[in-house]
Amino acid sequence: MSELNSKIPEGPLADKWNNYKEHAKLVNPANKRKLEVIVVGTGLAGAAAAASLAELGYQVKAFCFQDSPRRAHSIAAQGGINAAKNYKNDGDSVFRLFYDTIKGGDFRAREANVYRLATESRNIIDQCVAQGVPFAREYGGLLDNRSFGGSQVSRTFYARGQTGQQLLLGAYGALERQIGLGNVKMYSRHEMVEVVTIEGKARGIIARNLITGELERYFGHAVILATGGYGNVFFLSTNAMGSNVTAAWKAHKKGAYFANPCYTQIHPTCIPVTGDYQSKLTLMSESLRNDGRVWVPKTKEDAKVIREGKKTAVDIKEEDRDYYLERKYPSFGNLCPRDIASRAAKEACDDGRGIVPSGLGVFLDFADAIKRLGVEVVKARYGELFPMYQNITNEDPLKTPMKIYPAVHYTMGGLWVDYELMTSVQGLYCLGEANFSDHGANRLGASALMQGLADGYFVIPYTIGNYLSSEIFVKPIPTDHPAFLEAENEAKARAEKLIGTKGKKTVDDFHKELGKIMWEYCGMARTAEGLTHARKLIQDLRKEFWSNVNIPGSLDEFNPEFDKAGRVADFIELGELMVIDALNRNESCGGHFRTEYQDAGEAKRDDANFAYVSAWEHTTVDADPVLHKENLVYENIQLQVRSYK
């Protein structure tokens, strides 16, 4: 096992980022014009990066699999974005946001990265407001804030229940501006299927044109992946249908280490699963926990009659309700972090007190808030969310409590990156949810938007220059270079094998089966025994997939089933790595809960043995990956048991 060099700058924590920026190498404007950068993915991180790099003068090529860069899944983020502006004068500061994020992540994130994130959070709000993002305002015309899980200050900026949409449209506008100016060439309906490396450096990609099916080659002096998270490995998640791990996984197989894959976030407030046909799960923003109170009946008997439809929530008297988050975590109450709220819901349901027919659901009740604030205020505060719930469930949350249950939502793991956001492959960068860097073992609400935009707007424009300054003599490499041919042939061979299999099972059959394995053995609670079993199941599934999958149509046409098959093939391999990682981590922390390691239901971390990032190196599909450890050093904070009591 080798030590990884995270390239954290010298100096006191608060000065590191400034020190870095002041000493990073620069590329002069004439040279920037000669340098080409590929950006894969156009969500918050990708669009922000592509636009900002083009503004600086680099030649950018941007890729997305959707029909327009505006569709990236960042758009679905509802609740808000954190920033340490302290506009509320409630004691917020960069250090507090840093500390809350580190603590929220159960002390498994890198100090220097998180501090930089907290610092840049303030610039993000300035930038987005300048772009015309219509954030919520107070009557005086100043920006409004609300509180979010895992913090005791109000630092969350929001645009109704559509914050992600508005931030993404801001970044998309900036990107389109650069496209219009000719500084970015946009390739939509293109999916990256290979990274091209030449002499150890990332030099381009192979992308599949999803309309024609053709494989196309693109050169870049550097390649940036901003391709989002891998929650769809569970089949059912709150991710968009197309969200996938393929780009990150191909990079992993070309030498980029994959870090902490087992850290997955199960979001506590989603609409419960109702049937086998279901294609995705819908999130109800965490902001609802500001005013909603989570509860189940105190007794199993009451829960049973609710499940059977003989009673409803209003029939249960106040003293017979268990507001379990308020009871267990009095100082944070309903606003405790996501992993904790999710596990508490699971515990209540495992105890037989779930309130939906499947037994897997709890109430989120707005009756008190409506009494306190009135219906109109509650409706205004949550914009689209109530009608959205009502449309899906046919129940009005203003009259009867919402029914919710945890669902897979976000993945903290991702490609390992150093302080400059470079992966273990030279010239290959990874931003946003696709990297592992800032959230440790659990992400706090309203922090994903912050990280995506910090990476794209304010980090990569500085750090990439430090690398590209030494590439100014490299002429664009023609795409008939053998490395491009080899990568294309690899992608072609894989595609032909997939389409030629003509087996008996559909792509979704395999995806659903994988999802079941992952949810059962690598979901909210994990055991060594279960994980060992799961690994065997996934290996068998992989073999069966490659010999028995049935993909209709051909390779030279618009073929969404084929696109899906390629993604599922990668999810199966990733699933195995997640299980390996979960098995290796003999502790419970954040989104990773090993049943063997707990104190009466609370996660039991093992700092002596596991205060490290697990960065996995790919060997071959059939052999074990190699573990590299990055030890997490805490110089500014004290490791402690994470308590929200």
């Binding site: 503004e55 569709r71 679905a76 300035d126 968009a240």
Partner: protein, 248 residues
């Protein structure tokens, strides 16, 4: 529930398309429309037939990718909802349902129900932004915005760019889409200096893409999943008129 479907099938942009009949049974009323199509596609795939290509992604009504014209209405019969937010409980058992792509000259068909809506991106590229480079911003609270204006701007900014307005309009006009962006930015102080050029450039690009003109029919507003208001078109016309006079 059981349904008779008449679905537009078209192999590619150049091929001739036609409506093809399918029947589907055992559909649960709580299924979404797209989940019903998933089931149909699963049946087709197992029979060795080509599944129906359709655009979809977030399946929660915000990405704007899904785009079906269902029994004569963009996104189907449910008010203020995208196709992915349409549930089978909106139909009666035994209904015949027509499923077509969003039709407009500026939205060429790629395959079956999938169209090319990149014209929208090209319009945005002409001015649907505030020209502020990363790092050039002042402190966010240095620029107070009247709450009522901010709310109106947000109403307009809620547009998801799905193109239902174009599909619903007999003239295939994109005015609701274009005016939503122009309105959002016209209502805010940010980007004021480029306000006139924005209106002119975006409207010119809209015409160049081949979208039609507005004749105040209002189908766009009626079918918009985000309830974008016609008043935005009035505001855009005002912006365009003022800009034309000033630029002369």
């Amino acid at each position: 529930m059981k349904f008779n479907l008449k679905v537009w099938r078209q192999k590619n942009a150049k091929a001739q398309g036609k409506l093809v009949d399918y029947t589907i049974d055992n559909i649960n009323a709580d299924m979404s429309f797209l989940e019903m199509v998933d089931v149909l596609n699963d049946n087709l795939t197992r029979k060795g037939e080509d599944p129906i290509a359709f655009d979809h992604d977030c399946r929660e009504g915000i990405c704007g990718m899904c785009s079906m014209y269902i029994s004569g209405r963009a996104h189907g019969p449910h008010h203020a909802a995208t196709t992915c937010q349409l549930y089978m409980r909106s139909f009666k058992d035994g209904d015949t349902i027509y499923v077509e792509p969003f039709r407009a000259g500026a939205f060429p068909i790629i395959k079956d129900l999938v169209t090319d809506r990149s014209a929208f991106d090209r319009i945005i590229a002409k001015g649907g932004f505030v020209s502020v480079n990363t790092g050039q911003a002042q402190d966010a609270n240095n620029l107070p915005v009247d709450k009522a204006d901010a709310e109106k701007a947000m109403d307009a900014a809620a547009c998801i760019g799905c193109g239902a307005c174009v599909a619903a309009c007999p003239n295939s006009a994109a005015m609701l889409f274009v005016s939503a962006k122009i309105s959002q930015l016209a209502l805010l102080p940010q980007g004021g200096p480029e306000r006139n050029n924005r209106a002119i450039n975006m409207v010119n690009q809209m015409d160049e893409e081949g979208f039609g003109n507005c004749t105040n029919i209002g189908a766009c507003e009626a079918e918009c999943p985000k309830e974008i208001k016609l008043t935005n078109i009035a505001r855009m016309n005002r912006e365009y008129l003022v800009a034309s006079l000033i630029n002369e």
